[in-house]
């Protein structure tokens, strides 16, 4: 497995090489420090897969990925990025990337990703999978919380962030008993029975941040 790596930060390249060194099947055949260099290198040396930083000086990100995929359509590219998945993840996959992994992922996850991509697979992290799934179910009416009214939604959010009924009442200019009524209605609409379940629901659907 001949691997091309590109990252403008020596410390990251160093770490990557160190990690890849533990895999006897992997050989780093070239290192680039920016996008243009990476493209040049890709044309010069024989390689099987590439690991590119998303943000580098000069050509980088989706532009670089596009160029590489155009010239070497069959070869897998794993994108390594400082940015969290929700920003670029699905775009990278759509642009032909074989995987997207954030730099703060655990080293084991990184080796898993490399192995998977090297074998022609696609690597999708758990959080990216979540994002892709929510993008697929693009009909927003399907989510239960979309059935809440705007006001119920905000009460739900305030409850999910740990606010007391009295605080919510003050915040929204409502009486505490009205807020309690809202709470009951929200739990019923979401099919939940407790505040704890509500918190869990909100976190799972990324409604709080």
């Amino acid at each position: 497995m001949r691997i091309l790596i590109a990252d403008d930060h020596p410390i990251v390249r160093h770490g990557l090489k160190q990690m890849l060194a533990s895999d006897p099947a992997a050989t780093v055949v070239g290192e680039a420090t920016n996008g243009d260099e990476a493209l040049e290198l890709a044309r010069k040396v024989e390689w099987d897969m590439a690991i590119f930083d998303f943000t580098m000086p000069g050509r980088s990100g989706l532009d670089l990925l596009g160029d590489i995929k155009r010239e070497f359509p069959g070869k897998p590219v794993l994108i390594l990025s400082m940015h969290s998945e929700d920003v670029h993840g699905s775009r990278v996959l759509r642009a032909g990337g074989s995987g997207y992994i954030t730099k703060d992922s655990a080293p084991q996850e990184l080796s898993t990703a490399v192995r998977k991509v090297a074998n022609g697979g696609k690597y999708v992290s758990a959080s990216l999978a979540e994002i892709l799934a929510s993008e697929c179910s693009s009909d927003p009416q399907k989510a239960l919380h979309e059935k809440l009214s705007d006001r119920e939604y905000r009460v739900m959010w305030l409850l999910a962030t740990g606010k007391q009924i009295s605080e919510i009442a003050k915040d929204m200019g409502l009486s505490p008993s009205t807020v309690s009524t809202y709470r009951t209605r929200i739990l019923r609409k979401l099919g939940l029975t407790s505040n704890a379940a509500l918190v869990h629901y909100a976190v799972r659907h990324q409604l709080v941040g």
């Binding site: 400082m82 084991q108 959010w157």
Partner: protein
């Protein structure tokens, strides 16, 4: 005071970069004292000559016209501090001339002093005021009276010009500060995110390497907690960098950034956001930044004051303009809050939009939410100065 608006010192430059700095330098350069222009209109050469002699000592620029038609031609090309207008002239008389001068936007407010022979008496005097005379002098004029009256208008003209110049300077300074701040934010964000973030990444890899070689559980536990600390540092770095300037804006453009910001806002406040956005397109980066910052300011206001539970965000792109409309269902904004001392944020939005020839309109009824509409003309390359200049003129014009 639309009359002199086009005379305002050089047009406002684009928000950033050298042209702006040059403009500021020009504005601050100690120029010569500008002279006011005075127009004297009289069909009698002798009278014209006498008036010129009289007013020469004021040290201003005197122009003369021997007829109403001639006067109008001059008014088309110059902005005058005051016009001395003879009432009785063959052809177009003084009243007609005054009417025409008043009829034009640019000279609508130029002071006119009518000169009349005493024989004309009172009724022509009233006619004169009706067409916009600000004063009346009987012929033969008393030199001192004429001089002091004209001097008053010259002083007024100069004061207005100075005020306008300083207004213009302040506006340009504000624009400069905005762009400097934006540059600085971008720079710091990138520095923090890239440099610090990468070092942390490297550190994380090193810790991982170490962990793979350790057997002792207590040490493994240490590397585990180190790794967690690094993770949370990375999160913090990301948060700070994104707070300074979202990378989305540079990487993916305005539309994606607005969608992202709306989603973040909903997550952070529990106020539901509905977006209706134009398909993603590449837009000018400065315009994108401006619209994005205005959008952020609007959301900040919603979170702070509106008590809203819902925000509707609509971004439309037409051939020549961008329109962003943000409507909330909160308590609405009261008229006095739109202009009060606390409305600096609103003023800031307006100023930002103005720099690109755009405008921000805010409408709200207490109890029924607030709607903020932002329109920015989309320019083709090289039109920046023109668009901005047009706006400044417009801004200076009275309504």
């Amino acid at each position: 005071m639309a009359t002199r608006a086009t005379d305002a010192p050089s047009a406002l430059g684009p928000a950033a970069g050298e042209p702006l700095q040059r403009a500021i330098a020009e504005a601050e350069a100690p120029g010569e004292v500008p002279r006011a222009k005075i127009l004297i209109v009289d069909d009698e050469p002798k009278s014209l000559y006498a008036l010129q002699e009289l007013l020469a000592s004021l040290g201003q620029e005197l122009m003369v016209a021997a007829s109403g038609e001639e006067a109008l031609k001059l008014v088309l090309r110059h902005d005058f501090a005051v016009i001395l207008l003879d009432v009785r002239m063959p052809g177009m008389d003084g009243f007609e001339t005054a009417k025409m001068i008043r009829g034009r936007e640019r000279s609508r407010r130029t002071p006119i002093i009518f000169l009349t022979a005493q024989a004309d008496e009172m009724n022509s005097m009233f006619r004169g005021y009706a067409v916009g005379a600000v004063d009346y002098l009987m012929k033969p004029v008393v030199p001192e009276v004429l001089k002091s009256k004209v001097a008053v208008f010259v002083e007024l003209f100069m004061a207005t010009a100075r005020l306008r110049a300083s207004e213009d300077k302040l506006r340009r300074l504000a624009a400069h500060l905005i762009s400097v701040r934006e540059e600085e934010r971008t720079h710091i964000a990138r520095e923090i995110h890239d440099e610090l973030g990468q070092v942390l990444t490297g550190l994380k890899m090193e810790v991982g390497w170490l962990a793979r070689r350790l057997k002792e559980p207590a040490l493994l536990e240490k590397t585990e907690s180190m790794s967690k600390l690094i993770d949370s540092s990375v999160q913090t770095v990301r948060k700070i960098a994104t707070g300074l300037r979202p990378e989305m804006l540079d990487d993916m453009g305005l539309i994606a950034a607005v969608a992202w910001q709306a989603k973040e806002f909903q997550k952070r406040t529990g106020i539901r956001c509905r977006t209706k956005l134009a398909p993603e397109t590449k837009l000018d980066l400065e315009v994108s930044t401006t619209v994005f910052r205005i959008f952020q300011e609007i959301l900040t206001n919603v979170a702070r004051h509106a008590r809203a539970t819902r925000v509707d965000i609509e971004l439309e792109l037409a051939e020549d303009q961008l329109r962003l409309e943000v409507t909330d269902n909160g308590v609405g904004i009261a008229e006095e809050d739109l202009h009060g001392r606390k409305s600096l944020g609103l003023l800031g939005m307006q100023e930002r939009a103005l720099l690109f020839g755009g405008e921000v309109s805010i409408t709200g009824t207490p109890g029924h939410g607030t709607r903020v509409a932002v329109t920015i003309p989309l320019r083709r390359a090289g039109e920046a100065g023109g668009a901005a200049a047009a706006t400044v003129r417009k801004a200076n014009a009275p309504s």
